[in-house]
């Protein structure tokens, strides 16, 4: 029986086990893979690992500083050897039973380990899905490929049909005989680029393909040319493929199911939810502690600090968390000199109801991510039509929300604002001014989204507020919020997938929708063909004609991207009408206008399907999309040169790539999405949405993990070394030497402290006068448009 068993030898687990060893606590460190820190082992060779956040001190018995992956792994190996950490490799935990003081941990290999306390540091990567057939434990079967050039002249079967499988197969095919085994009859899950590569390779017979085939067994051959036979069940029967190596790329099993089977609860069904933890990292199961990425801390240094702290907590020592100093600094400017940091945190949670149900640990992290502002009376917190999307809560004093000149709403301590842009991705719908003695907490979007995903009550409060405020600003500016609440409580939030029909032309219906996020197209069926009439962004309302008596839908409304609406039925609407004199007339006026517009629109239908095409490209969620009018483009390449020249010599757009329809070409370039997918999973929170133009910008603190590249559905992010523009116009013009304008050189290719960072279009935010590509186009072919303007393209 060990005092402490640490599961997972990632940075968090290593640090915890080393602290146990240092304090001579009886312990064991269980690691499922054959080496330490599997997640870091999987980084590309030679990757420069960053030690973000820079201001956070490291507290761990093992060393960690920014440096090469290999150096860091070496330092950790040395560290645990030096401290004599009791580590067991190949020890994958699969069950936990018992209770604090007497846990039994069941391993996949059948062993059982006993522990008084457990620290879970298994990260978020999950374990690779195994083949699950007899013989799949043989040593020539692997689930990871570090260096494809390591293997030569082998027969290799790659199993899987996703991007990882395709990339491995193609890399291996250079020197080996490669077969790809696909359970389905096509590569449906792969990115377009990979799809083209694999199909071409299969076509030219560089790679053999087995479609609709799955492995049923691996036969081991002793002392023969091949190491085994991969037995496949195919459409035409059983086939035996002699192999030297099998590489399974079947994806990873997310750790959530396993963690739940240990009895640990997640506060919501959302897959990005984080288990509820105390400020001492203890889960709802007494005696099981969760640290690192699994606990919601996505950076190495944080994980290592927590490893140290959690051991101290288990031993009953009272240590301040390593980030204590950081929070102290944040609170310096506040008038709470005589209060302890923890007391200020508690007070904040008491004063601000929306945060009251957040567990202490999560709240602490939220404050670490947030900024606390002290405002003077009348200061602008944010301005109407700004594109910022952070969330503000009132800690002291109050704020004034200026909806219209005569409608100013005051809110006091505990109130929040900014939820509209946070949830919809749209511009701010009102200006907010600071009141007297005002202190506000500003929380970034990513942190808020994580909170919403984790805590049901936060989501509910935000949703309800969003609805009631939306109804107020749209229909009843002069009615008190309190009076609108019963109506709002009848409203429903609906989500739609891209292409899903929200209402259909000719159907009967009496609900009315406000588009909360995403966007829709309005179309009619003409001669059996769908003709898109127009595009409506978030904030627009649809179906209001139904409420005024015309219950037959006059058009089909379809979501262009993932879309959410708030719907109100007739009954609730009647309540609203009775409370809001003049509303009926106002809506009738609006309906009349819409009818008139419809008549006008009859002529300009989208007969060449341009709008449909643009929507199919996902441009419905763009705020600024680059397009090239092929009828005007002379192919001079000035746009790309301009992009490169203004971005250190590397262009962030690809003029030639991308689809074309009629005369409109959509090059590969960031569209600055309303709710950017790329921001979702960035460990250092390096991607920001800027105020004025809604530019989505990647900051210098990027650690080069590549998550954003993976998450962007439009393939616009590149991972690249830093370059420098080194061309000279006069030299090039007069003497023909040097690089042409707009060309740059890679500064230092792979120098030790260089990393490939994420780069993409930033709308030339640093130039201050709009995107250089558009400004450089001599003919007017290049343009950047918001979807609202797409109709004018036709």
């Amino acid at each position: 029986m060990y005092d402490i068993v640490v599961i997972g030898a990632g940075p968090g687990g290593l640090s915890a086990a080393a602290r146990c060893a240092e304090l001579e606590v009886s312990h064991a460190l269980l690691e499922s893979s054959p080496k330490i820190a599997n997640t870091i082992q999987k980084y590309q060779k030679g990757k420069h690992v960053m030690a973000e956040p820079g201001i956070l001190p490291l507290r761990s018995p093992v060393d960690f500083a920014a440096g090469k992956r290999e150096e860091i792994l070496d330092a950790w190996e040395t560290g645990i050897a030096h401290h004599k950490v009791n580590i067991q490799y190949g020890a994958e935990a699969k069950s936990i039973t018992g209770e604090v003081g007497n846990f039994s941990i069941g391993l996949v290999n059948g062993e059982v380990v006993q522990a008084k306390h457990i620290i879970l540091g298994i990260g978020m990567q999950g374990n690779p899905r195994q083949l699950g057939v007899p013989g799949d434990q043989s040593d020539f079967i692997q689930y990871q490929l570090d260096d494809p050039d390591e293997y030569h002249d082998e027969n290799i079967a790659v199993i899987g049909a996703g991007d990882a499988a395709i990339e491995n197969a193609i890399a291996l095919a250079k020197h080996n005989n490669v077969y790809i085994v696909n359970r389905k009859d096509e590569f449906a899950r792969a990115k377009e680029g990979n799809l083209n590569l694999i199909l071409a390779a299969i076509d030219s017979e560089e790679i053999g393909a087995f479609y609709s085939s799955s492995p049923t067994e691996v036969e081991i051959l002793e002392g023969e040319k091949f190491r085994g036979n991969l037995v496949l069940s195919t459409n035409v029967g059983i086939e035996k493929l002699p192999v030297h190596r099998v590489i399974g790329r079947l994806g990873a099993i997310p750790p959530r199911g396993l963690v739940e089977s240990f009895g640990i609860e997640f506060p919501s069904k959302d897959m990005s939810a984080i288990p509820a933890l105390t400020s001492q990292y203890e889960s709802n199961v007494t005696g099981i502690y969760v640290i690192g990425a699994l606990g919601g801390y996505p950076l190495i240094k944080q994980a290592m600090n927590q490893g140290y702290e959690v051991v101290e907590y288990i031993l009953g020592h009272d240590v301040k968390p390593a980030d204590h100093g950081l929070i102290e600094d944040k609170f310096k400017a506040l008038p709470y000199d005589n209060m302890e940091v923890d007391d200020v945190l508690t007070m904040m949670q008491e004063r601000i109801p929306i945060f009251s149900s957040v567990n202490a640990l999560l709240f602490r992290e939220l404050i670490l991510d947030s900024t606390v502002h002290v405002f003077n009376e009348g200061d602008v917190v944010f301005e109407r039509d700004d594109y910022t999307n952070s969330f503000y809560t009132v800690l002291e004093g109050g704020i004034k929300t200026v909806i219209t000149e005569d409608l100013i709403i005051s809110s006091a301590v505990g109130a929040f604002t900014g939820e509209g842009s946070l949830l919809s991705g749209r511009r701010r719908s009102a200006t907010v001014l600071a009141g007297d003695q005002c202190i506000l907490i500003e929380t970034p979007r990513r942190t808020m989204l994580k909170l919403i995903a984790s805590i049901e009550s936060v989501k509910r409060v935000l949703d309800e507020t969003f609805i009631v405020r939306q109804i107020q600003t749209k229909f009843a500016p002069n009615t008190d919020i309190k009076e609108l609440e019963p109506i709002a409580s009848k409203a429903v939030i609906n989500s739609y997938t891209p292409g899903q029909v929200i209402m259909k032309e000719g159907d009967e219906g009496d609900t009315f929708h406000l588009i909360r996020s995403g966007s829709v197209t309005v179309s009619n069926e003409v001669n059996g063909k769908e003709l898109i009439r127009t595009y409506l962004p978030a904030g627009a309302d649809i179906g209001e004609m139904a409420l005024l008596g015309d219950t037959t839908r006059s058009a089909t409304i379809k979501a262009t991207v993932k879309t959410e609406t708030v719907s109100i039925d007739k009954e609730a609407f009647e309540m609203l009408l009775s409370r809001s004199p003049g509303l009926r007339e106002e809506l009738q006026e609006k309906t009349k206008k819409r009818y008139q517009e419809n008549v006008k629109l009859q002529g300009d239908d989208d007969s060449d399907g341009l709008l449909s095409f643009l929507m199919d490209q996902g441009l419905g969620e763009a705020t600024s999309a680059l397009m090239i009018d092929e009828d005007l483009c002379v192919g001079c390449d000035l746009c790309e040169q301009a992009c490169a020249a203004t971005h250190d010599g590397t262009s962030r757009m690809n003029r030639r790539a991308g689809p074309t329809h009629a005369h409109i070409h959509v090059p590969t370039s960031c569209r600055h999405c309303e709710s950017p997918h790329c921001m979702k999973d960035c460990p250092p929170n390096a991607i920001q949405r800027m105020g004025g133009g809604g530019e989505v910008v990647i900051g210098d603190n990027c650690i080069g993990c590549g998550n954003c590249k993976q998450n962007c559905p439009y393939g616009v992010i590149e991972m690249a070394y830093q370059t420098k523009a080194t061309s000279s116009f006069w030299q090039w013009m007069l003497f023909g030497i040097g690089l042409a304008p707009g060309k740059g050189e890679v500064l230092s290719h792979g120098a030790p402290n260089e990393i490939k960072k994420a780069v993409k279009c930033d709308l030339c935010i640093e130039q201050n006068h709009g995107p250089a590509c558009v400004r450089a186009c001599p003919t007017g072919a290049a343009m950047r448009l918001n979807p609202v303007d797409f109709a004018k393209l036709a």
């Binding site: 076509d203 092929e630 009828d631 030639r656 116009f729 072919a781």
Partner: protein, 287 residues
């Protein structure tokens, strides 16, 4: 939505230029020099100075369009101004000469200027007409898209010939290997096709792939049984390839025409500067 440089800002520079020209003509008609009008009168000097400065400014476009970080106007606006104000030079410089031409450096400078301007006119025509013509020919595909399609067909062809007699395979493979694009500028401009094919060990011209198509069709007419089927699909694929190659060649030709004028416009501009300098120098030295 997308407005070209021609209609930039509702043709602002067209109107500016027009007003300017009319004004110059009116003054010309109104002013009454002692001698016959020429470059030496006060008005002649004024027009000459304006003209020379304008030429320098027009030349500056070559630099301005590469000042990518410059916030002063857009390149489109500059081109629009370049085109319309540049055209007004025709009037200004002509008035400046007072219609006195001769076999001298002054008239050479004038002639070069006219050449630059007329090449500019063709440039505007080319920029307006050719891009959409090319997009139409390519049916809204990029050149890369079409090359990709051709590569796909090539693979297909290589597979199809594997079931056919060797000589057909040899011919088709050599036709693929010896397909040529581009070439020199003149070849592009004239749309010359230098593709070759080796048939029975002899390399022959394969302009527009005609030789191969003919040869294949010939074989198809004589074929029997399974071979007919195989050859028919080969001919079909080859026909598609021929068509796509034609599209690329047309595109290359049109783009060459679209570009060619710049190879006159810019060098003659430099010549013009030299002649202009000589013209000004000689005026001051010999006057």
């Amino acid at each position: 939505m997308s407005t070209s440089f021609v209609s930039h800002q509702g043709g602002r520079y067209f109107w500016v230029s027009l007003a300017f020209m009319v004004l110059c003509i009116i003054i010309y008609a109104w002013h009454d020099p002692v001698q016959s009008p020429n470059g030496g009168t006060w008005y002649g000097y004024t027009l000459g100075t304006i003209g020379a400065l304008m030429i320098l400014w027009l030349l500056y476009l070559g630099k301005r369009k590469r000042n990518f970080a410059n916030g002063w106007g857009t390149t489109k606006g500059w081109v629009s101004a370049h085109v319309y104000l540049g055209s007004s030079l025709l009037v200004i410089a002509t008035l400046h000469t007072g219609f006195q031409f001769g076999w001298n450096i002054h008239t050479v400078a004038y002639a070069l200027m006219c050449l630059v301007i007329f090449s500019g006119f063709f440039g505007v025509y080319a920029y307006v007409v050719y891009p959409s013509a090319r997009n139409k020919v390519k049916k809204s595909r990029t050149r890369d898209d079409i090359f990709e399609q051709i590569q796909g067909i090539d693979q297909q062809l290589k597979k199809l010939v594997s079931d056919l007699p060797e000589e057909i395979g040899a011919m088709v493979n050599s036709a693929i290997d010896r397909t040529e694009f581009g070439g020199g500028f003149l070849d592009q401009l004239l749309g010359r096709d230098k593709s070759k094919v080796m048939i029975d060990g002899i390399i022959v011209n394969n302009n527009n792939q005609d030789v191969v198509v003919e040869n294949l069709v010939q074989k198809l007419t004589l074929a029997r049984g399974q071979e007919t089927k195989d050859l028919a699909s080969l001919v079909k694929e080859y026909g598609a390839r021929q068509k796509l190659l034609g599209v690329i060649r047309t595109d290359i030709r049109l783009s060459a025409i679209q570009e060619i004028w710049l190879s006159f416009h810019v060098p003659i501009s430099f010549g013009l500067i030299a002649a202009l300098a000589a013209h000004i120098a000689s005026v001051f030295i010999y006057w």
